[in-house]
């Protein structure tokens, strides 16, 4: 028990364990109220929430948000915002699908390699455009990415002529690989975990990661400490575009098609996930695992509306309230922590004086 507690502490900080607890509570409550249905083939009673299909569906939905939320977290820590991720998703997916359609028949390995490089490449390029415009033109990221949000989606729309484009089966068989033939498709979730782990390592372990926190905390002081602030800022938008490209590759492959209307409105879910995960829109604060948990929490709340057969029209109201409540609680917690730290150092000061 002790080691389990230790492991838990090592894996999650207090803010993250708060999110895990909330997610578990919602899960338990949901399974309790979800009711049962009887499987026609086996005649077994099955919980409407705790069953392979629903859990997998929830996890898969969360994956796409979470992958992008990792990139968004970097942007938010740096003090910026990226409204264009949903559009980058659509453009990357369309670009990949159109190229593969025109390329004709290819070997499965070539299809996956080309598909991956195109969707990631387009995502990266879009991010680069955002970053260079934000730092070069010195315009607030909200404005630049609001503009590119429409521009990127517009390009996807024009290029695809608003058609939905099928992607080759080779991609689907990778993204929707069946786990032991149980009709469980874990690839999106595995990629979510991988991207989260990479994001967490990047932020906590690398110089670049530390520099992102520094720039978000105080860009001017970072410049005075010799940091190349513009390069760091371009970097975070590139990573944000890249994660949108990854999500597009997994998403389009998983569902078997790409459309210019894909991921419409996702940017707000993604920003919400990062913020529910404790990232501060004023910069300097945030973490990758928390953003993933934030995405899971939001999708879970959405799922509970469906499972409990509440009126679908209430979805937005409930999600909106949940986001506000989550952030208010998080800030309260942060304020208490700050107060505790202040008290500690004040005590140290008075002890020093007495000594």
């Amino acid at each position: 028990m002790h080691t389990l507690n230790h492991l838990f502490r090592k894996l999650f900080n207090s803010q993250q364990s708060g999110l895990v607890i909330v997610i578990l509570i919602i899960g338990v409550v949901l399974s309790f109220f979800a009711g049962f249905h009887v499987d026609h083939l086996t005649g077994q009673k099955i919980n409407n929430f705790i069953n392979a299909y629903t859990l997998m569906q929830t996890g898969t939905d969360a994956s796409f948000f979470a992958i992008m939320a990792i990139g968004m977290t970097l942007v938010v820590i740096s003090g910026g915002i990226d409204l264009s991720v949903g559009s980058i998703y659509a453009l990357s997916g369309i670009a990949m699908a159109m190229f593969l359609r025109s390329a004709g028949a290819l070997s499965p390995v070539a299809t996956v390699t080309i598909g991956l490089s195109i969707s990631l490449g387009v995502g990266l390029l879009c991010g680069l455009i955002n970053g260079v415009m934000i730092t070069g033109l010195k315009v607030h990221p909200f404005i630049i990415t609001l503009g590119t949000m429409w521009v990127f989606r517009g390009i996807a729309f024009v290029a695809s002529k608003a058609e939905s484009i099928l992607v080759p089966d080779a991609l689907t068989s990778v993204a929707k690989a069946d786990f032991l033939g149980l009709a469980i498709y874990p690839v999106p979730m595995l990629i979510m975990l991988a991207v989260t782990a990479l994001g967490a390592l990047y932020l906590a372990g690398t110089v670049m990661g530390r520099h992102i926190y520094a720039v978000g905390g105080n860009a001017e002081a970072s410049r005075y400490a010799g940091l190349r602030v513009n390069r760091i800022l371009v970097g975070v938008y590139v990573v944000s575009g890249l994660t949108a490209g990854i999500a597009a590759f997994v998403g389009s492959s998983y569902y078997g098609s790409a459309s210019c209307a894909d991921a419409t409105g996702y940017e707000l879910y993604v920003i919400a996930a990062a913020v529910v995960g404790g990232a501060s829109l004023s910069g300097g604060r945030g973490s990758a695992p928390s953003a993933m948990l934030g995405a899971i929490l939001i999708v879970l709340i959405r799922q509970s509306i469906r499972t409990l057969h509440l009126d679908q029209n209430y979805e937005w109201i409930i999600i909106g309230c949940a986001i506000i409540v989550a952030v208010v609680f998080d800030r309260l917690n942060a304020r208490l922590t700050a107060k505790r730290l202040l008290t500690e150092s004040a005590r140290a000061r008075s002890e020093e004086r007495e000594a």
Partner: protein, 500 residues
């Protein structure tokens, strides 16, 4: 005489903040029509006491007696209505609004809900006339200097019928000229029957302005003295609770090495400064004096690669170099401790370790990965060496006092192994104890063969630490004084442009 009864009496005032007893059992009387100084180190409780009087804080215990009657202010507005105003640099205005709008904010003249601009302007001009300040009342607040903003604050307080004005560290961000103007105004207040309470840790100005001085330490009153009956040294000793060997110890060394670290030839930047030439040797402290706005800070920024318009020759170790970015300056082992610590020096949302290691992180990393053990060791070393007072090296920078925050910035450059450190106002807003420590650090750096370019508005600091003093005036080098000739008078003459 009405002077027999004090205008204000604090009786057993106590105030707790989470984790600290800011004030305990403070008894103090302030006489009508005097200028009364409250002095003490940072954290001594002097500002807290001023803020209690101005209604910004409420005492936990004790009574406040105003004109013989106990009063309890629940807000600054209560205090204002009772005739108490405060001049406080952080109690800011709406910077986006004009002087007139700010002065009339409490009671904007309006007709049917629309603001009457003409009467607002007249009201504001009348208010400013009280202190003979000539300002365009339609100027946006943000465009005024700190000194002008203070004048507006004082005018606002006087026009509101203030009988008592609390000045909380009023000169900490004023230029000398602005400070002189403020002093003149403060000196004129007793004649108008106004009592001033002057909170500061600058002893020179207290002797100039105040009749009585109360020293606070650790939330208690140490003593109240008449200004004429006490010396600066005695006050400093009371403030820190032990006698300082010397308040501003004059450095004993002063030869300076002979190896030239930096030579600047004809450094110019359009509209900021021109034809600046000087050198800094290893082991030498070169003071750079001048009025605020004379171009001192701008020269420092240019040397650190933060002025793209700067032209001229910079020689480092006799090699001609062009420094176009702070990164480049760092490669030449130049560091800068900036003037505005909170805006340019520190990342307040990060902890002490991260702030110390910020400039060196990239160099100590392997393939872009932070080496935590090495980082910890490095940070801990300088954290201990500079005696940063915090619970541990992972304490948030925002939770430290001004002096300790400044130590973090200095530690950053020590960790980065700088050979030339430019320090812009290194002891601004730092208490006496920490100031002495920072002076010790500067001295120690010079002894270990680093070069220091020391910019300061405090002449005693420049004089006592520097081996040579450069004086700037209106963007030009007005003169260079060797250590022996660097007296306060000589420097002031050069600063003001009076022929010596």
């Amino acid at each position: 005489m009405e002077n027999i009864h004090p205008i204000i009496r604090f009786e057993g005032i106590g105030k707790r903040f989470p984790g600290v007893q800011a004030l305990r059992g403070v008894n103090l009387e302030i006489r009508r029509g005097t200028c009364h100084a409250l002095i003490g180190e940072n954290g001594a409780g002097k500002s807290t006491l001023g803020k209690i009087l101005a209604g910004l804080y409420q005492p936990d215990e004790g009574r406040l007696i105003l004109d013989g009657r106990a009063v309890g202010f629940r807000s600054p507005r209560d205090a204002f209505l009772a005739g108490i105003g405060i001049v406080h640099q952080e109690l800011a205005f709406c910077e986006n609004l004009s002087v007139a709008e700010n002065l009339c904010l409490g009671s904007l003249p309006a007709k049917r809900g629309f603001i009457c601009r003409r009467s607002m302007k007249a009201m504001a001009e009348q208010t400013l006339a009280v202190i003979d300040a000539s300002l365009n009342v339609e100027t946006v607040m943000a465009e005024l200097s700190m000194g002008q903003q203070q004048l507006v604050q004082i005018a606002g307080a006087l026009a509101g019928g203030a009988r008592i004005i609390v000045f909380d560290e009023p000169t900490s961000s004023l230029s000398q000229v602005e400070a002189r103007r403020l002093f003149k105004l403060v000196k004129s207040l007793p004649a108008r029957g106004i009592t001033s309470i002057y909170i500061s840790h600058r002893l020179e100005e207290i002797f100039e302005l105040c009749d009585n001085i109360t020293v606070l330490r650790d939330g208690c009153v140490v003593a109240t003295k008449q200004a004429s009956a006490v010396s600066e040294k005695e006050l400093a000793a009371m403030m820190i609770g032990r006698s300082l060997d010397a308040y501003y110890p004059r450095r004993t060394t002063g030869s300076g090495g002979k190896t030239e670290l930096l030579r600047v030839k004809n450094l110019s930047s359009p509209g900021k400064f021109s034809s600046i030439s000087f050198s800094v040797n290893a082991g030498e402290i070169v003071g750079l004096a001048g009025l605020v706005g004379s171009g001192r800070t701008e020269v420092a920024l240019a040397l650190f690669g933060l002025d793209q318009q700067a032209s001229g020759d910079v020689l480092i170790n006799a090699d001609k170099t062009l420094i176009t970015s702070p990164g480049e300056a760092m490669r030449h082992r130049i560091g800068l401790v900036p003037e505005d610590r909170k805006r340019c020096g520190l990342i307040l949302s990060m902890n002490a370790r991260e702030n110390i290691s910020l400039a060196i992180l990239e160099k100590t990393a392997t393939f872009g990965w932070v080496r935590r053990k090495k980082e910890n060791e490095l940070a801990q070393t300088y954290f201990d060496r500079l005696r940063v007072c915090a619970p541990h090296v992972n304490a948030l920078a925002a939770s430290l006092s001004g002096g300790n925050q400044q130590k973090l910035v200095v530690a950053r450059w020590l960790a980065a192994d700088c050979r030339l450190l430019i320090m812009d106002e290194p002891t601004r807003g730092v208490d006496v104890g920490a100031k002495a420590e920072i002076h010790g650090i500067i001295d120690h750096m010079a002894r270990s063969e680093s070069g220091i370019l020391l910019i300061s508005s405090e002449l005693p600091e420049v004089i006592n630490l520097s081996d040579r003093v450069l004086v700037m005036r209106n963007g030009r080098l007005a003169g260079e004084l060797p250590r022996k000739q660097a007296s306060q008078g000589a420097i002031l003459k050069l600063m003001a442009g009076v022929a010596a």
